[in-house]
């Protein structure tokens, strides 16, 4: 078998593919964060909690109501998105006039409440969500056997990311979103219900997090803290991509997953920190991020 750096090529390709799966989650989560930050100026620290809520919604839906995976893929983001809209209407909208720090503190507190409550009710140990039958096979890629479900995660998240990008960049709704980012009062003076648009944006952003949560539920243990560590990496992704940049979040998310996978092969000890090393380097060279505008 051929080798690179004394490592079998098959192993490298395998880790890169698994990295792409992780990158898919980074992309979906950082996309939602970027949309929320870009339009509303809110640093949504509760993003990980909404991801966790999405996974729990799928799990509990299955256990108590017999909602299958495919229905959960639609219903959980809808339900969590609705929670997001309520949070925006009740709390967040009062903070827009203030320093962005207040939004960060509010969402941070919200994350603690959500995660603490889930911990209280369901305990610390995780529960597993069954892989749906139609996705339970294995894909032979010749250099590795990829579980079909992980291939599906890549496909589903790329489709969701591209769909979001398309809505924002190519539709009239997206034109309103971009206009609201630039000059919201004028947009409202044209007759657009900007407060509703903001609530819907927050709902849409956290629905993306919930979608990632549902997608993750068959590959991780569903537990109250599954979002906590992930959200830190995702914030680093958003900073590297450029705060508020849609394309930056998607590309950076996928790329960092791959880089992380590659690091696992050549220097496993660094795989947990490589994202933060890259963040530090990017901040030194391009403080606005790779895709950000100064």
């Amino acid at each position: 078998m051929s080798e690179t750096f004394g490592i079998p090529v098959a192993v490298i390709l395998g880790q890169l593919t698994l990295g792409l799966v992780n990158g898919s989650f980074y992309a979906l989560l950082s996309l939602g964060l970027a949309v929320i930050f870009g339009l509303m100026g809110v640093v949504n620290f509760a993003h990980g909690a909404f991801y966790t809520l999405g996974a729990f919604a799928a799990l509990l839906g299955l256990q108590y109501f017999g909602v299958n995976y495919w229905a959960a893929l639609v219903l959980a983001p809808l339900a969590v998105g609705l929670v997001g809209v309520i949070v925006e209407r009740l709390f967040l909208r009062h903070l827009y006039q203030l320093d962005p720090l207040y939004g960060l503190l509010l969402t941070f507190g919200l994350a603690l409440i959500v995660e603490g409550s889930l911990h209280q009710v369901f305990g610390a140990s995780g529960q597993s969500y069954p892989v749906p039958d139609s996705l339970s096979g294995v894909l032979n890629l010749h250099f590795m056997f990829l579980p079909l479900y992980r291939a599906w995660v890549i496909v589903a998240s790329v489709v969701a990311c591209f769909g979001t990008w398309f809505i924002i960049e190519r539709t009239s709704l997206g034109a309103s979103l971009r206009a609201a980012t630039e000059n919201a009062p004028l947009l409202q003076a044209f007759g657009v219900n900007v407060p509703l648009l903001k609530a819907a944006t927050y709902g849409g952003g956290v629905a993306l997090a919930a979608l990632a949560g549902v997608l993750a539920s068959p590959v991780v243990l569903v537990n109250s803290h599954m979002g906590t560590s992930l959200v830190i990496v995702v914030f680093a992704v958003v900073v590297i991509g450029g705060m508020g940049s849609i394309l930056g979040a998607i590309v950076t998310g996928l790329a960092l997953g791959v880089i992380e996978g590659f690091t696992k092969v050549i220097y496993p000890e660094a795989s947990n920190i490589v994202v933060f090393i890259i963040m530090a380097l990017v901040l030194m060279i391009r403080p606005a991020g790779l895709f950000g505008k100064d």
């Binding site: 206009a179 630039e182 003076a189 044209f190």
Partner: protein
């Protein structure tokens, strides 16, 4: 005389702590072109922004088409049929020319069709795919105007539309305003450029320190020139 489409009574407005309008009264009849004259900082732009609810706080009455707009959010005020062209033009840089044009939602059934708009402003059709802010100043002004004509708004609030434009463009704008007047639009203009505004307006108001100090019809213009010199330095 037809009914007042816009009636402003005892309007007070504040930006934060500073009280900028002090009991402004303005009446604009349907189909009229009314110009607010005055020095910079006299409160003319704030008057337009107050009509739309874009200031911090306001009291008094703003009646649009017989509906009291003082308690409404800006988007609900716009839906009473108001189109706004801000002083800085408000062209969105992240949107193409055509996206800018199609951005404001339709407010009434009688919006100007796109082909009519492109006939009136042919440059906008040629440059429909360009970024809004890549247009020349004159084109951006045309775009800002075209944008609100498409919506079917019948009351147009135009803030300094001739500012910073070449004379030939200003002449084209004057022809456009005349054409809109013939189509029955009601227009409130804030203007620094007296030569541009004088032949277009039916009536004038002069503002000074957040108050209306004088209001008169175009027919009285000749007799008021000395006063205009005093207030505007024209």
């Amino acid at each position: 005389m037809s009914a007042a489409l816009l009636r402003i009574n005892a309007l007070n407005a504040w930006y934060g702590e500073s009280h900028v309008l002090h009991g402004v009264d303005v009446e604009v009849n349907e189909g009229e072109v009314v110009t607010l004259l005055g020095r910079n900082g006299a409160g003319r732009t704030t008057t337009l922004r107050s009509v739309l609810g874009l200031v911090g706080r306001r009291t008094g009455a703003v009646m649009i088409n017989g509906r009291d707009a003082i308690g409404l959010s800006p988007h609900k005020i716009a839906r009473l049929g108001v189109g706004y062209c801000p002083e800085e033009r408000g062209i969105y840089s992240s949107l193409s020319t055509e996206e800018n044009l199609l951005l404001p939602p339709l407010l009434g059934a009688h919006g100007m069709p796109l082909d009519e708009i492109y006939a009136m402003f042919p440059n906008l059709e040629k440059r429909r795919a360009s970024r809004g802010t890549h247009l020349s100043g004159g084109e951006q002004q045309m775009l800002a105007l075209a944008r609100i004509l498409r919506t079917g708004a019948r009351l147009l609030l135009l803030d300094e539309i001739s500012e910073g434009l070449a004379p030939v463009i200003v002449q084209a704008l004057a022809r456009t305003i005349t054409a809109l007047k013939e189509k029955g639009y009601t227009i409130v203009m804030v203007e620094q450029n007296f030569r541009f505004a004088a032949p277009l307006a039916d009536r004038f108001y002069i503002m000074e320190r957040g108050r209306i100090v004088e209001g008169f019809a175009a027919s009285e213009l000749q007799g008021r020139m000395s006063m205009l010199h005093e207030f505007l330095g024209v």
